[in-house]
C-alpha cells in the first residue's frame, strides 16, 4: 500500500510484478479515484489495465504490459504510472480548487452574452488594440514586403 510521510515529502509506492504485469494497491484517501482513473487511462496504449476495489477506499491497479515484460521494463512501467498518478492528483486538486471560477467564466461566456452588435463592437475594439502596433509588419501583405 502507498503511504505519505507528508504532503511534500517522499511518497512510497509498493508494487508487485509477476513477470507479465505489475500491481499497485492505492488508498483513495491519498489518491482520489478520479486521479487513479486519469492515470490508468493514459496507459491504454501500452497496457491492459484493470482497476479493482478490494475493500472500501482501497483500489488495486493491474497493468498488464503489451510490450516488454522484463523486470526493468515492468519497474519502469510502475514508475511511470506512479508519476502519472501524482500528476493526476495535482490536476484533480487544482480543478477542485478552481472549479467554481471556471463555472463562472463559462456561464459569463455562454449564458450572459451581450447582444450581437456589442460583440461586433468588442471585436472591432480588440482588433484595433491588437493590430495597432505592427513592428514586425505582420499586416503587410507578402507581395508588398519582405518576409
Amino acid at each position: 500500500m502507498s503511504s505519505e510521510s507528508s504532503a511534500a515529502e517522499l511518497q512510497i509506492f509498493d508494487f508487485v510484478s509477476d513477470g507479465r504485469s505489475v500491481r499497485l494497491r492505492l488508498d483513495e484517501g491519498l489518491y482520489p479515484l478520479d486521479a487513479i482513473r486519469g492515470a490508468a487511462y493514459l496507459f491504454l496504449d501500452r497496457c491492459f489495465v484493470r482497476l479493482e476495489r478490494l475493500e472500501d477506499r482501497l483500489v488495486d491497479v493491474t497493468l498488464k504490459s503489451k510490450g516488454p515484460t522484463d523486470d526493468e521494463a515492468l519497474g519502469a512501467l510502475a514508475g511511470e504510472f506512479c508519476n502519472a498518478l501524482l500528476d493526476q492528483a495535482v490536476r484533480v486538486q487544482v480543478a477542485a480548487s478552481s472549479g467554481k471560477i471556471r463555472e463562472y467564466i463559462m456561464a459569463r461566456a455562454f449564458f450572459s452574452a451581450p447582444a450581437q452588435s456589442s460583440i461586433d463592437q468588442l471585436l472591432a475594439e480588440l482588433d484595433a488594440e491588437e493590430l495597432a502596433a505592427d513592428d514586425l509588419e505582420i499586416q503587410v501583405p507578402w507581395e508588398q514586403g519582405g518576409a
Binding site: F15, A78, V90, S98, I105, R108
Partner: protein, 501 residues
Amino acid sequence: MIQSRSLQLRPHRVAADQLGVFRWGRLGDRVVLTNDAGEWQLLSAADFATFLAGELGPEHPAFEALRSRGFLRQDLDAEDLARKLRRKRRYLGAGPHLIVLITTLRCNQSCAYCHASRTDMHRTDTDMSLETAKLAVDHAMRSPSPYLCFEYQGGEPTVNMEVIKFCVEYSREKNRHEKKTLDHSVVTNMTYMTEENARWLVDNGVLVCTSLDGPPEVHDHNRAWSGKGAAAFETVTRWMDWFNQAYIDKGLDPALWHVDALMTTTRRSMENGKAIVDLYVQRGIRNVHLRPLNPFGFATKTWRAIGYSMEEWLAFYEEMLDYIIELNLQGVQIMEGTAATFLKKLLTPDDPNFVDIRSPVGSGTGQICYGFDGSIFPSDEGRMVHGMGDPIFRLGHLRDTSFEEATRHPTVRAIATASLLDALPQCESCWNAPFCGVRPLHNYMMSGDLFGQRPLTPKCKQHMSMVSMLLERLANDTDGRVEAIFRRWTMDRPRSPDANA
C-alpha cells in the same frame, strides 16, 4: 516469479488557492500552461514547481504574463477570460457554414488513396439531378449562419457541371432575400476541365481548388489517369496557369485570386518532400497543406504500398516544417496549412473555425454534406463511410428531412458529445485542449466507437505533436524571426466573397 518492490517519489507542493484555471503538460524539459481562453505560457520544470507551490513572485520574469493571462488567482479577471473564451468559441450555435455538395460520384481518375468516393465514368446514375440540387440549396440556406461556402465535390464534380452552374445561380437568386455572404468553391482534379467550363467558373467568381501532389513522379504516381495523351501533372499545371492568367486578365488581385492546391501524402510523397514544397514555391502557391492519409477503407495491400505510421508521418512533417521555415527565413513566401490553423489558435484572439479541428467538431454543426442522391450527412467523411456500406451517419433525405431535423439529429448530437473536449477523458485536462479537435468519425472507422480512446488515437498524437513542434520553435526563437513568420501565416486576406453575385 512474483517480486515485491518499492518506489519513492516526491510529489508537487501545491498552493491550489493561489492558482487560476489552467491545464498543463510537459514539452521536453519545459512545461506548457494553457487555459480555456486560449492563453498559454511556457515555464521551465523548476519554475513550474515554484509556480504550483505559490512561490513564484512578482520579481520573476514570467510573473506578469502568468498573472495577466489568468494563470494566477491574484488579480484574476474572470470577465476578461469569459470575453476571450466567447470570442474563441464564436462558432457555437452559428450553424453549418460549409456546405458540401456531391455533384456526382463519376471520376476519370483512379487515385491510389481514393476509396469510396468514386465510380467509373459510365455510371450516370450517380449524378445529382437538378431537382435534388434545388432541394439541397433550399435546405442549406436554412442554416442560421450568415456565411455559407458551397463546396462542390465528387467524384470529379465538373463531370456534372450543369448542377454546379444551377446551384451557383439559384443560391444567388435566393440570396437576394436571404442576404447571406456566399462563397462557391469547386474541388476539381482539372483533368476534365474544358475552356467553356473554366471561363464560366472565372466569370462567375467560383473559387477553384485542385489537387497537386507534387512533381510528375509523385503526382502521376498517386493520381492515375489515362488521359488524352497527357499525364495528369501536365494537365493540372496547364489549367492552373490558365486560371491564374484569366484572373489577372479580369483585373483581379492575383495574390487573392489564384488556384488553391491540396496535396495528399503517400509513401512516395514522403520520399520527395522538399521537391513538393519547391514545386509549390515555384508555382507561386503560398500554402502547402501537408495532410496525412485517412488510414481507413483501404485494402491491406494498398495500405502497404502507400501507407505509413503516424510516427513516420510526423517525422516527415517536422522535416518539412523546418524546411518551410528555412525558406521563409531566406525570404520565400510559403506556409504550411495545418500549422497556420494551429497558429491562428495560438497567436490570435480568434479561432479559424476549421471544422475538423474545433470543439465540438464541425460535423453537422459547422458543415453539412448532400450526397448525389439527396442523402444528408454531417460531413463528407460521413458520406464516405456510407459509401463503404455503413449507413450509420446518414441523417435522412432531402425529400423528408428538414434542415432543423438534420442538424438536431441524434447522430449529430452524438458526434458533438463525442468531440466536446471539456468532457472527454484525457482531453479535459490536456494542455492542448484549447487548440485541438477530435474526429469521432475517424474514431468510429478506427475502433468502431465514436469516442475512441485517446492513447490509441493517431489524431491525438498528430495534433499534440504538431502543436508541440510549433511551441518548441517559438520557445527557441531567440531573435523573434520565427514568431514574425508564424504571425504572418495567421493573417487572412479574404477575397471579396460572392464578388459576382
